[in-house]
Symmetry: C2
Subunit: 203 residues, 2 copies
DNA sequence: ACTATCATGTAACCCGTTACATGATTTA
DNA sequence: TAAATCATGTAACGGGTTACATGATAGT
């Protein structure tokens, strides 16, 4: 019999993001949402509404299960667990190559059109962007330092995943900081094109 | 009178991407789609169907206009132009700070869950990712070189935008290449944890 | 008294992808 | 003769955001 439940359940990427979190620790839907807003898991966020609906889909695909527990509100809270089936699906998904996702970056788009706009206003925009990236970078650096304190991360432990994702975040923010600084430099030159040689080193 | 057409037209980001392209050269919808698939404008893509519908919206908001010209197919082709109103809206949009967009990156998500999966399969995945990024990087480097050949880019000319976007692309691909190499190194260590110091350079 | 945190859910809407539909010209 | 390129459009569907709706407890 093909009762191995060929559920046609084309679990969305968010579904796997949820499974990846549940594989580390059982959580309520609410907790999953908040964990996604925390340092390491920045790279896949979702609103609580979407998480709840997705959990229901995962539930009907038998990839998660839950235990009821008395909740603060009118309804019980549901503490979700990943099932064996869910873990298998997740494990399989991890190593299937993601197809190249179209990159959409509003700031880069704006930079592409920057030649039409006011340089001073542009500089302010890039200054705020720079600050955001510097803050993120500092945050990641703190997280990295605290990771390196403990034992070296073994493959097979969640810590390996933390370092992998963090390492990417660090590189990304460094690249962004660098680019914003370069943009500011270019823009400031366009404002006062007087001293062009008196620039010690740009990159 | 408020007949300055307060069209409530909250032109989408794609709308501005289209305007940014039209500000450089008049195009048909088809051409806009193909221009988005070209080196410099990779950072904002869209399918032709979406572009056509968006052009209709921009048209009703009087941000673009078009001239009919005999087309190859059954219908005339429409060569779109940006209007003064469109250019004003674009110019204003460029300097309004984009609100931080949630970063969603499937490969990073997979790396976060990598501790659960098979190292060898992971290595293959990261190897193909590495190749893709190396190719992109080479492409960007060629484009950069050809940009540097001509006259230095003046603010106020499209070339400034090309360099700004390209510079970002270069930094991004370099960061990605670096991260993929680091991942491969980590994974290979987990496969044979014997010689940890004797690793000169893979690739 | 008000706000924040914890906790669950539904409904409307927007943006984007994929598939459907048509058809001339050029190239392999 | 088959395909790729040029060229325009519609329709269905999926994923994501925002807003709506409820309500207890803890802190300011």
């Amino acid at each position: 019999m093909s009762s191995t439940t060929s559920t046609t359940s084309t679990t969305s990427t968010l579904g796997f993001a949820i499974l990846a979190l549940l594989a580390r620790a059982d959580s309520t839907g609410y907790e999953i949402a908040s964990r996604m807003r925390n340092p390491v898991a920045y790279f896949w966020t979702a609103s609580h509404s979407q998480i709840h609906t997705d959990l229901q889909r995962l539930l009907s695909a038998q990839m998660v299960a839950y235990d009821r527990a008395p909740g603060p509100g009118p309804q019980d809270k549901k503490v979700y667990t990943i099932t064996a089936k869910g873990r298998d699906a997740l494990r399989e998904w991890i190593t299937t190559p993601p197809r190249p996702q179209p990159e959409r970056d509003e700031l880069v788009l704006k930079s592409y059109a920057a030649w039409l706009a006011d340089p001073a206003a542009l500089m302010e925009m890039f200054r705020t962007a720079l600050h955001r990236h510097e803050e993120r970078l500092a945050e990641y650096e703190r997280a990295w330092a605290s990771l390196e304190e403990g034992a070296p991360p073994l493959f097979g432990t969640p810590k390996f995943g933390n370092m992998a994702a963090l390492r990417c975040g660090l590189g990304y923010e460094r690249h962004r900081v660098e680019w914003c600084r370069w943009m500011l430099d270019q823009l400031s030159r366009s404002l006062n094109p007087s001293c062009e040689a008196a620039k010690p080193n740009d990159e």
